[in-house]
């Protein structure tokens, strides 16, 4: 700068100022037009990237991004592209509420999809329904279906505890079976426990006893002898994520699996990978999705193939698939509505019959719960596994039916 002298510097600065002014004017004139022509369809996606559900969250993001990519490659909504705005909710309801507010107020998200823990999804729901923004929840919850937390802006794409426990119980429980429960002491554990007991009462299975453990407990050794003393035919472990892998491993170490069968409400792909084949062998649970479904369901094959192509041969996981089914169904509804207008999209979603990964699905009108199939799966022993991700045997596919759900009356919805 010194060598150039003052005159040179002044000229270049003036040019720069002029250039900036010109650019600013151009941007000012041009931007609104450009923005209007190709305003993207923005989908806010809060999910717990950090925290114990991080692995599930990462799969959700990958699946959701795949759905967005496919929509855009197919031309979007008459050339209007979709965009996924991923935010870390840190598995914290307060953080999730702030993030959702940001997504709505600052990023002008048209729709919100996401959340994994029940407390977090309920807080997201509280924000979206007071601001009349469409929200599709992809985490298991019974509460969100109930009239108190429901709004016509809320859809629930995930299975709910009532559905999964009923499917598992129908398969595993018999009249007179003695069932002992180990459940995580928070909403998810309580709801699963309630679901199982309800199903057990209908079937005529007996409760041998129940133990609640703190959420995120690292050690289960104090519970195992007490559970064994109950002499159950079935040990029912109602927890999620790392808790599931840790407690099943320890049940194995204490020899509980030899004495009784282990049943879980939701058998998780990632936790089975983390826990290992030996610990999980023979454990029965329910699932919304397993990639092995591709043998019988053509849309599952298409979804898996697209996923494998996009992510170096990896297969989608159960909770990950929720990201895909929710975003795909949302974008299908946007297409059907021909607009991002919330009311039109709600109407389109209510009317939508979709089959994007796991067979036919549709939203029930009273509580916007997705009516869909429930898979009952069993973890394979190492000797039967054909590959790294050949984890489960599908024992049964309980087809989607309204009979699986609690009635609208029971949930407090007035016709």
């Amino acid at each position: 700068m010194n060598r150039q002298g003052p005159g040179h510097g002044a000229v270049s600065r003036r040019t720069l100022v002029r250039g900036m002014a010109a650019a600013g004017t151009l941007a000012g004139i041009g931007m609104p037009f450009v923005a209007r022509a190709a305003e993207p369809i923005r989908i806010g996606f809060p999910t717990p990237v950090t925290g114990p559900f991080g692995a599930e969250a990462k799969d959700q993001i990958r699946s959701a991004e795949l759905a967005v990519k496919q929509f855009n490659e197919a031309g979007g909504l008459n050339g209007r592209m979709a965009e996924l705005l991923v935010r870390d909710d840190k598995l914290n309801p307060g953080e999730a509420a702030t993030r959702t507010l940001e997504l709505i107020e600052k990023d002008r998200a048209h729709f919100i999809v996401g959340a994994l823990s029940s407390a977090v999804q309920l807080s997201v729901n509280e924000i979206t329904r007071s601001r009349k923004v469409l929200y599709i929840s992809i985490s298991q919850s019974d509460t969100i279906n109930e009239a108190k937390d429901f709004s016509r802006h809320t859809f629930h794409e995930a299975l709910n505890p009532h559905m999964t426990t009923a499917a598992v119980a129908k398969h595993a429980f018999k009249k007179g079976t003695r069932v002992a429960y180990l459940a995580a002491d928070y909403a998810y554990g309580h709801e699963m426990l309630r679901g199982f007991k309800r199903a057990a009462a209908a079937i005529g299975a007996e409760t041998a006893g129940e133990i609640l453990h703190p959420f995120g407990a690292p050690d289960y050794s104090t519970f195992m002898p007490r559970l064994r003393a109950m002499r159950p035919d079935i040990l029912c472990i109602c927890n999620f994520g790392r808790d599931q892998a840790n407690s099943i491993k320890q049940a194995n170490d204490f020899g509980l699996k030899k004495a009784s069968k282990i049943v879980v409400p939701v058998l998780l792909h990632n936790q089975r990978l983390a826990g290992g084949a030996d610990a999980f062998a023979g454990v029965v649970g329910a699932s919304n999705y397993y990639w092995g479904l591709e043998e019988t369901v053509p849309t599952a094959k298409a979804f898996n193939d697209a996923f494998r192509a996009a992510y170096a041969g990896a297969v989608p996981t159960d909770y990950g698939a929720y990201g895909y089914t929710a975003v795909r169904s949302l974008l299908m509804a946007v297409q059907a509505a021909g607009d991002t207008d919330t009311d039109k999209v709600i109407a389109a979603l209510e009317a939508l019959k979709y089959d994007v990964a796991k067979g036919p699905e549709s939203y029930r009108s009273c509580d916007h719960q997705a009516i869909q199939s429930v898979l009952v799966t069993e973890s394979k022993p190492k000797s039967e596994m054909k590959g790294e991700v050949d984890l489960f045997r599908i024992l049964e596919v309980e087809p989607g039916a309204e009979a699986m759900l609690r009635t609208c009356d029971e949930l407090g919805h007035r016709a």
Binding site: P93, E105, L122, I127, S130, Y186, A187
Partner: protein
């Protein structure tokens, strides 16, 4: 004093003369100036929801600082007051249909009452024992909220009290509008800042600082140390309760986390990052922590690593916090005049 002298020695030879006078003005008008600075906040930060959080946690840290920075009592239980303020505001509006302002007022009174109870028990002990007693009592409050799930929503948190408009008699505020909400919260935070500034400038403010510096000497001077400490504790609980009440209005949910011990830790971290024992420091701390969290977590899932490293740098190189260090530098300049 050593660090201060060093700073003096390192100060540049030319010192602007107007600065010291300006500095006196700044400290005299600290509350109005703080409010002015906060008025600009929603336009500077990435989002208004974040700006409201800065206000709320700033007030929380300022309230905490009254006890920690000025009285010298390290409490690990301030989430109890924050959470009580939040829960009772939510319950008041949701379950009893109270006017939001009335619910907030009752919640703040209850948080102060809780502070009186916890303070009475805990100020008998000192140092780490004091910290542990406050932590234990706050955990008690946490478990009460967890167990009383029919009132508090338990693990799912409290919902069902969304405030969309606040009727003030003459006007009705649309709280769903982000800027209106910001100004509504700022009105409370501003009033609280004015009050805290007044408290600190009063003889009582001088006594709590005397206790922080040398408790024995303060007692020898004839001050009732126990009562002063208790009053500081209650005032601190009051302001933290107010910040909790505002957070309930802001988020329209009360997560159980608001009573958890890491919310107590948040107050400590924010106060330390900003500068303990300074008037505006806790706000700077809240701003720094929240903005870093917000921005870093957009960039990388490993934001905790980055945030942790930043905190380590703060502890190593800015032991008096951002604001404390800045004030120290300025004071040093004045000393040179």
């Amino acid at each position: 004093m050593q660090t201060l002298d060093q700073t003096v020695a390192e100060a540049p030879p030319t010192v602007p003369r107007r600065l010291p006078i300006a500095l006196d003005g700044v400290s005299r008008w600290r509350a109005p100036l703080s409010i002015l600075a906060l008025l600009a906040l929603p336009f500077l930060l990435p989002s208004q929801a974040l700006a409201v959080n800065v206000l709320i946690y700033g007030l929380y840290a300022v309230g905490y600082n009254l006890l920690y920075g000025y009285t010298g009592l390290l409490s690990f239980g301030h989430a109890a007051f924050f959470g009580t303020g939040a829960y009772l505001t939510g319950i008041g509006i949701g379950a009893f249909g109270l006017h939001p302002l009335l619910a907030m007022a009752l919640a703040v009174v209850a948080a102060s009452g809780l502070a009186l109870a916890i303070g009475t028990v805990s100020i008998r002990s000192r140092g780490i024992y004091f910290a542990m007693v406050t932590l234990a009592l706050a955990q008690l409050v946490y478990y009460v909220a967890l167990q009383a799930s029919s009132w508090t929503g338990g693990e799912n948190g409290l919902r069902g009290f969304t405030v969309s408009t606040i009727d003030l008699g003459i006007v009705s505020l649309d709280i769903l509008n982000p800027l209106t909400k910001y100004l509504f919260v700022l009105a409370f935070v501003g009033a609280a800042l004015g009050l805290i500034s007044r408290i600190l400038a009063s003889p009582f403010g001088a006594v709590i600082e005397a206790i922080r510096e040398n408790e024995t000497r303060a007692r020898a001077c004839g001050f009732d140390v126990e009562r002063t400490k208790l009053l500081a504790f209650v005032l601190s609980g009051l302001f933290c309760g107010l910040s909790g009440a505002l957070s309930a209005i802001h988020l329209s949910i009360v997560p159980l986390d608001s009573l958890a011990y890491h919310t107590s830790g948040t107050a400590v971290v924010m106060t330390l990052v900003g500068g303990a024992g300074t008037f505006f420091g806790p706000f700077v701390g809240a701003l720094t922590v929240l903005v870093l969290e917000d921005v870093l977590s957009l960039w990388t899932p490993h934001w905790q690593l980055a945030l942790g490293s930043v905190f380590i740098l703060f502890v190593l190189f800015l032991p008096r916090g951002l604001w404390g260090t800045a004030l120290g530098r300025l004071t040093a300049l004045r000393g040179r005049r």
